[in-house]
Each structure stands twice: as structure tokens, then as C-alpha cells.
């Protein structure tokens, strides 16, 4: 998404700036609005962890590394256990595309490469938001994602920087 905005900006500055300033301001406004709506869309779900996980914030980089199954331990040395919804689930697709910035099919092929070469494990699949909530709330080291409406006090919400 960042790349996309960047391209829009470049295009606008390329074509509009020399012509008139107002157009450029308009373009910026559109960009800002765009960022705003995205933030709003992002706000509908959160990355959640088991309450015992000490991390309260996480970089996008680390988050991507966790969901790619490369980063396997929290900073205190305990196991990370990743929970995901099915590939065609709407929430899974949103998290994959918007938070991790990868297409779901790429996550799938990354996991397959790990599982069938023995160099890693697959995330644990759950079939519903309720199951996600129950599993993340009860499994030490768990990380997953939930619609805001489904989040309760049994899980921690992780801030992504």
C-alpha cells in the first residue's frame, strides 16, 4: 500500500505540480483521505496474543517474520505459536494483504516450502473466530488475529509499529 501511495504521489507531482499548485494540494488531500480510510479499515481487526506474552508492541518486520514462520521465539525465549484462519477467509486475506503486505497464496507457498523441506512448521489452522479467540486465550505464546467485535479481555491486543 505504501508503494501504491508513493506512486500516486509521484504521478501527481510529476503531472500536476508544474501546472498548478491547487491540483497538487488536491492530490495530497486525496492521499491523506486515502491514508485515513485505510487506517479506518485497519481498525476493524487487531493482532492478538496470549495474555502471558510480554510483548506489547511489535514491528511490521517482526510480525511478517512471525507469520512467515521464520521467527520462532518471543524476546523472552518462549515459543511463538501462530494461529491462522483458512486461506479463503476474509479476515485472513485482510490481515495478509493489509498488515503483512503479502498475498495469501504467497504465505501458503512459504509455509509449504518449510513443511515439506522440514526446515519449519506450519501455523496452526483454526476454522472460526470463536476458535481463534479460545486458542489464543489458552495457548502459551499464541499469536493470531481477530475482528474487533470478537476481542475480549482474555487476549492481549498487540500494537504494530
Amino acid at each position: 500500500m505504501n508503494l501504491f501511495q508513493f506512486l500516486i504521489r509521484i504521478q501527481f507531482s510529476k503531472y500536476c505540480l508544474p501546472r498548478n499548485r491547487a491540483c497538487f494540494c488536491g492530490a495530497l488531500l486525496i492521499c491523506l483521505l486515502y491514508v485515513d480510510t485505510e487506517a479506518w479499515a485497519d481498525g476493524q481487526y487487531e493482532i492478538v496474543t496470549y495474555p502471558g506474552v510480554s510483548e506489547k508492541t511489535l514491528s511490521v518486520n517482526s510480525l511478517r517474520s512471525i507469520f512467515s514462520m521464520h521467527l520462532k521465539t518471543w524476546s523472552d525465549g518462549t515459543k511463538i505459536r501462530v494461529f491462522v484462519l483458512p486461506d479463503d477467509d476474509h479476515l485472513h486475506q485482510s490481515v495478509s494483504k493489509e498488515k503483512l503486505n503479502v498475498f495469501p497464496y504467497q504465505l501458503r507457498s512459504t509455509w509449504d516450502r518449510l513443511v515439506f523441506s522440514g526446515t519449519g512448521q506450519a501455523p496452526i489452522k483454526v476454522n472460526s473466530s470463536e476458535e481463534m479467540l479460545n486458542k489464543v486465550a489458552s495457548t502459551p505464546g499464541a499469536i493470531g488475529y481477530l475482528w474487533r467485535a470478537n476481542i475480549n479481555e482474555n487476549v492481549n491486543v498487540l500494537q504494530i509499529k
Binding site: 508503494l3 514491528s59 511490521v60 518486520n61 517482526s62 511478517r64 517474520s65 521464520h70 521467527l71 520462532k72 521465539t73 525465549g77 518462549t78 515459543k79 505459536r81 483458512p86 486461506d87 479463503d88 503486505n101 503479502v102 498475498f103 497464496y105 504467497q106 507457498s109 512459504t110 509449504d112 516450502r113 513443511v115 515439506f116 523441506s117 522440514g118 526446515t119 519449519g120 512448521q121 506450519a122 496452526i124 489452522k125 483454526v126 476454522n127 472460526s128 476458535e131 495457548t139
Partner: protein, 480 residues
């Protein structure tokens, strides 16, 4: 004529019965797994058929897939049991089974494919991984592959190793693996036997030879690896290993020693070899670039007086890989330059004219093989994918049409000389993939090939191959 036909029908009926028996076996295994655990929670995953069918628009497809759905139902339940049960030490069990039907206009690929086709390619694997400690991973896979004369389907240890994560800080990792490991080269070698991870029923044969596959597949090694990720630039994963290659199969002997492989009493022995790969991925995984290379050393132990001398072969290929991934399509290309060196110790003391001929034909020898392919994949819907590929192999890049080789061979072997077209292969592939469910996949593909350089010399008598040939294949694959 009639009796031949009925013989053929009976033959294929037997083969189909075997496949069904295999399926049944897998099925009953999963039933058992399910029964053990009847008290566990009901499978919540099995969606109502109506919802599952929503993407299949054609009614004919819908009813067909309904049948397909019923068969792996039991397996799904077992899989679900694995998923919902807390296994000790984060134990995970995965597996796959694929069956292909291959028919060719001429030449044999995985069985007697040019006379009505064959079910000669069966692949099945079962793996387990466990994390007894947060930084320790132990995993192993058993693989059975039935493909032509070279692979009988005998299960073998595909990989089995321990992986210790020495250093881990945020998105940067460093670790070590010891055991039998998949050889890291190109984009696909690590998982080449899993149909789901392959771009097609057959991998681009110019790079991923199926005839020297055991050599390329895995080796007993010590490997260091690292993953380094940068928040904006992307990530780099590297692997470097010291290995003993696996060379104790007939196909490998044939590939390196030609038809002499059959007559020789000695055997290929493995020597210390090196292998490494680096992969760059942009953070959105749209761009993937890789360089891999290996330095494989193989020795030859003579089996008596009537044999070659103790020679050695150095095989040092280097691979360049590039891929671009968009939401709907992916473009992939890989290029390999393969350096072969046969030292002059293959000289023989034998009185056999044939062996003298073979030995002077083989060594000393120093040449470069070259191969590359371009491939486009298009995802029409998440369920349907199309693939188009052009794949080229030259056994010797300085003799692309094989004419020099033919002239040399004519001198040595006269009428038994291998044809010039055994030194190159140009393959155009068109294929379609249908992801029936996340676990079950069907595929069909068509190849038009000019040349026979990657054909198995075990399955084909080199003098009787055809230069221009077609291959059609369908495949069903299940995984969990």
C-alpha cells in the same frame, strides 16, 4: 489384436485396482485415527456442501467435485483431529500422495507411456516435526516414489535432521542443521516431490532432472543458515552446507557414465561436496531472486580388472533464479550452467574392446551444460490456474545440436552410437491446475518436446528414441 487389447485392459484394470487399494488403505488409516479420538470435539471445519460449492459454477463440475469431496471426508476428519488436539512438543504430521497418468506419442516417461499411457508416476510422503525446545526443531520425511525403472516406490528417508536456532534477534536468525537435508538449489528443489508446491506435473526438466534426482535431492550434510530481514529493503536467506551426495542408484551411474553404467562392476562413491544458496525477497514477496551453486565430487571405485580405472567426476552447477509475483500472475525464470569434469583416470586395462571404447570416449572430458526456462502462471480464480512454459536444455553448450557428439560417438560405437538429439531438449508446456479443495488438487498438462536429453536412459534404449514427441499427463494429488 483382440487378445492384445484385452491384455492391456486387464493390465490397466489391475493397476487401477492397486491405486484404489492404496486409497482405501489411506482411508482406513484415517478412520482409525478418527475412532481413537471419538470423544474429541466434533469437526467444526467441515463446511456445508452448498457453501463449499459456491465457486463451482458449472453443474457438471459441481456434481463431480461433490464425489471427490466425499472421499477425503474421512481424511479431513483425521486431519482435523491433528489440528484440534494438543500434541506434545508441538508435534506436526503432514503428508501427501499423488498419482499421475502419463501418455506419450513416442519415448517412455515413467513407465511404458507410449503404448496407451501408464500410471507409472506415484509419489507419497509422510513427515513429522517436533519442537522439544523453543530453539530446537527435529524433522524427518519418508518418501515413496514409483517412476519408471529407476524408482521402484521403495520408501526411503528423504530428509531427517535437527535444526538448532543459535541466534535470534527480532527478524534476524542464524542456525545450524545436521543430518540428511534437502539440497538447497533453485526455487523448487527443496519440495520437488510435493505436487502442490510444483509448477506443473513435471518440473522443468532442464534444471530439475528427474533422472539424477537422488543426487540432486538430498545429501547427508551439515548446513549453516541465516535469515536477515530489513524493514524496507527486504530479506535475504542463505544456506551453506558441506555434504556427502547420495549416488548409490542406477540412474545416476547411467547419467554420469553413459551406457557403461550397465556393464561396469564398480560403483560410484561419494566424496565431500559443497552446496549453497542465497535468496533475496522483497518484503511484499513480489520479487524473489536466488543464486545457488554446488561443487559435487563423485569418485569411481573399480569392481575388478575388467573395469574402468578409479576415476573421479566433478560436477559444479550454478543456478540463477528470478520470480515476479502479482496477485493474479507470476513470472519465473531460472538459468543453470553445469560444469562437468571427468579426469583421465577412467582409462581401463581391460582387454574388452567395448570398455576401452567407452573409457576413451568418456575421459578426459570437460564441458559445460546449459539450461533455462521461462514460465508464466495465471490464477484465473483461486481455484483455477494456468501455466505456460518454455524449457531448454543443452547437455554441452558448445555442441548445442549434438552433431560433434554424434561424430565422436560414431567413431567409437558405430551403429550403436546415441543420436544427436539425445544432447538437447526444448520443451513447450501448457497446463491447467484445479484446486478442488485446499487439500485436493487436479492437474492436466501437455508437452511438446524436441530432443531427448532429459529422458531417462534406463527407461529408453537410446538408439530407438524419437526426436519430436508429445506428452500428455493428468494428476490428482492429496495433502494434509
Amino acid at each position: 489384436m483382440c487378445s492384445r487389447l484385452s491384455n492391456y485392459l486387464i493390465g490397466s484394470f489391475r493397476r487401477i485396482t492397486k491405486q484404489l487399494a492404496l486409497l482405501f488403505l489411506i482411508g482406513s488409516f484415517s478412520v482409525q485415527a478418527q475412532e481413537i479420538n471419538q470423544t474429541q470435539k466434533k469437526p467444526a471445519s467441515i463446511k456445508p456442501p452448498a457453501q463449499w460449492l459456491q465457486t463451482s459454477e458449472l453443474p457438471a463440475e459441481a456434481s463431480e467435485s461433490d464425489n471427490v469431496k466425499k472421499k477425503p471426508g474421512l481424511i479431513n476428519t483425521a486431519v482435523n483431529w491433528f489440528r484440534t488436539t494438543d500434541l506434545p512438543g508441538d508435534l506436526q504430521i503432514h503428508g501427501f500422495a499423488s498419482q499421475a497418468y502419463i501418455t506419450t506419442s513416442d519415448n517412455d516417461v515413467f513407465g511404458n507411456s507410449n503404448k496407451g499411457g501408464s500410471f507409472g508416476l506415484t509419489e507419497a510422503g509422510l513427515n513429522a516435526s517436533v519442537r522439544p525446545l523453543p530453539r530446537l526443531l527435529v524433522s524427518a520425511q519418508v518418501l515413496s516414489r514409483r517412476a519408471g525403472v529407476g524408482n521402484t516406490g521403495m520408501p526411503r528417508l528423504d530428509y531427517g535432521f535437527i535444526d538448532y536456532r543459535v541466534y535470534s534477534h527480532e527478524a534476524n536468525q542464524f542456525g545450524i542443521r545436521v543430518g540428511r537435508l534437502k539440497n538447497p538449489f533453485g526455487f523448487y528443489n527443496d519440495t520437488r516431490d510435493v505436487a502442490f508446491t510444483r509448477p506443473g506435473i513435471l518440473l522443468p526438466q532442464s534444471i530439475y532432472f528427474d533422472r539424477t534426482r537422488n543426487l540432486g535431492l538430498s545429501s547427508d550434510s551439515v548446513q549453516l543458515y541465516s535469515d536477515i530481514a530489513h524493514s524496507s529493503l527486504g530479506s535475504i536467506s542463505t544456506q551453506f552446507g558441506v555434504a556427502l551426495p547420495v549416488v548409490d542408484d542406477r540412474d545416476t551411474a547411467y547419467s554420469f557414465l553413459g551406457s557403461a553404467g550397465a556393464e561396469l562392476k564398480g560403483r560410484l562413491v561419494r566424496e565431500v561436496s559443497y552446496i549453497g544458496r542465497g535468496i533475496y525477497e522483497s518484503n511484499d514477496k513480489r520479487i524473489r531472486l536466488a543464486i545457488s551453486g554446488s561443487w559435487v565430487n563423485i569418485g569411481y571405485n573399480p569392481g575388478g580388472i575388467n573395469d574402468f580405472g578409479p576415476g573421479s567426476i566433478q560436477f559444479s552447477p550454478i543456478y540463477f533464479s528470478a520470480q515476479y509475483n502479482a496477485e493474479r500472475w507470476s513470472l519465473t525464470s531460472e538459468y543453470a550452467l553445469r560444469h562437468f569434469v571427468y579426469d583421465n583416470n577412467f582409462a581401463t586395462n581391460s582387454a574388452s574392446k567395448n570398455l576401452q571404447n567407452l573409457s576413451s570416449f568418456l575421459s578426459p572430458n570437460d564441458f559445460y551444460g546449459e539450461s533455462f526456462y521461462f514460465q508464466g502462471e495465471y490464477r484465473f480464480t483461486p481455484k483455477f490456474e494456468g501455466i505456460l512454459r518454455y524449457d531448454v536444455l543443452f547437455t554441452d553448450r558448445n555442441d548445442r545440436d549434438g552433431k560433434e557428439y554424434k561424430a565422436k560417438a560414431d567413431n567409437h560405437f558405430g551403429q550403436f552410437a546415441p543420436p544427436a538429439h539425445s544432447r538437447f531438449a526444448k520443451d513447450i508446456t501448457v497446463g491447467l491446475r484445479w484446486n478442488v479443495t485446499p487439500q485436493f488438487m487436479l492437474r492436466a498438462e501437455y508437452h511438446h518436446v524436441n530432443g531427448t536429453a532429459w529422458l531417462s536412459t534406463l527407461d529408453n534404449v537410446s538408439g530407438s528414441t524419437h526426436q519430436h514427441w508429445d506428452l500428455f499427463a493428468i494428476q490428482g494429488s492429496y495433502r494434509f
